[in-house]
Amino acid sequence: MSIINYVNKEVQFKIVYYGPALCGKTTNLSYIHSHVADTSRGELVSLATAADRTLFFDFLPLNALIIKGFGTRFQLYTVPGQVIYNATRQLVLRSVDGVVFVADSQWDKMQENVESFRNLQDNLVLQRLDIDRIPYVLQYNKRDTPNPAPVHYMDYILNNRPVRVPSYEAVATNGQGVFATLNAISRLLLRKFVRETEETAAAGKARAEAPAVTALSGIAAGTRR
């Protein structure tokens, strides 16, 4: 569930870019940072090794004015893709609202894609979250590599669940598909947020009306006696 700053009533969504090592998670954030409007972006922070491999996470805060009267912040994180950093991935997933799973389209990366997706499911379970209950989208990155795996095959191995999620072809190095992916996960999160707040409001209204109905029933019962 999104988190609200109690003081300025800003709604905050946490989006985590997940996927195998070197699939392009950090490249997505770098492209977004360099191409989104200056007024919408914060600083891109990367906790990386000397060789530019993500050690802890990358972080990019984005502002949007899309809900009347409320500020909205999308906090974009990446996780380290290397297998040994699983504990770190678990930490970054804490309080996650939505996920972008970045898959590598190269044939020899299919096994890593599948293992990383399973790892995502396992780590969500540790956060008491179910992959089928949180918004996520798939991004098939590196479509510019020679002979990439067909999209229908990647759908078959990664998007073959009871509910199919949106998937996007991408070349993160030149920006193809990057904003389509970001906008898709942002829309899913907004819709879920609005649905949940409407349900909460309806439940509150029902609770407020319930005692009055009970009281009236009591009066009616008393009258009958």
Partner: protein
């Protein structure tokens, strides 16, 4: 000169919302932070969710530091030390102190979901900040518990309030 320390309060002392105390949980959260900064002479306090989102903040930092980045880094740093504590048989370390030449950060556990980050300079001491943080986090924990369920703290939004649902971030 630092104020004379007095014993921290207990959570039972947290003022409840009554007919004579109608401040919202958000206002009372800010009031607790203001009082904490006043007593400690610290510069800035921020209550954050352990996932890195800001719940409330008070005070000022010099420069143009983005609070969202501070929160993300503090949450990550605190979470990492939890793993370190686990290796030593501790559930977690309750406080984390980063000491610099002119700036310090103290991060303290509030509850299972939140931590308090305090930024302070040479005008105060880590001992004083730590001392008052004990009572402050107890206050904050009780207030956050109330705020999480209070209608005053919720955002009432319907689908008609959305101003854009297409390209939220145009390239």
């Amino acid at each position: 000169m630092n104020p004379t320390p007095v014993p921290p309060h207990s959570p039972a002392d947290v003022p409840a919302a009554t007919a004579t105390n109608i401040a919202s949980p958000a206002q009372r959260l800010q009031s607790v932070l203001a009082d904490f900064l006043d007593k400690t002479q610290a510069a800035f306090s921020l209550v954050l969710d352990r996932g890195g989102a800001i719940l409330c903040q008070y005070g000022n930092l010099s420069g143009s530091t983005d609070n969202a980045i501070l929160a993300a880094l503090a949450a990550g740093s605190f979470a990492a030390t939890k793993e370190l504590a686990a290796r030593l048989g501790e559930a977690e370390f309750n406080t984390l102190h980063h000491q610099g030449k002119n700036a310090n950060i103290l991060v303290s556990t509030v509850d299972d979901d939140a931590v308090l980050m305090t930024v302070f300079g040479p005008e105060t001491t880590v001992g004083l900040v730590k001392f008052y943080s004990v009572g402050t986090v107890a206050y904050l924990a009780a207030l956050l518990k109330e705020a999480r369920t209070s209608p005053d703290s919720q955002v009432a939004v319907s689908r008609h309030d959305l101003t854009a649902v297409g390209n939220i971030f145009p390239q």
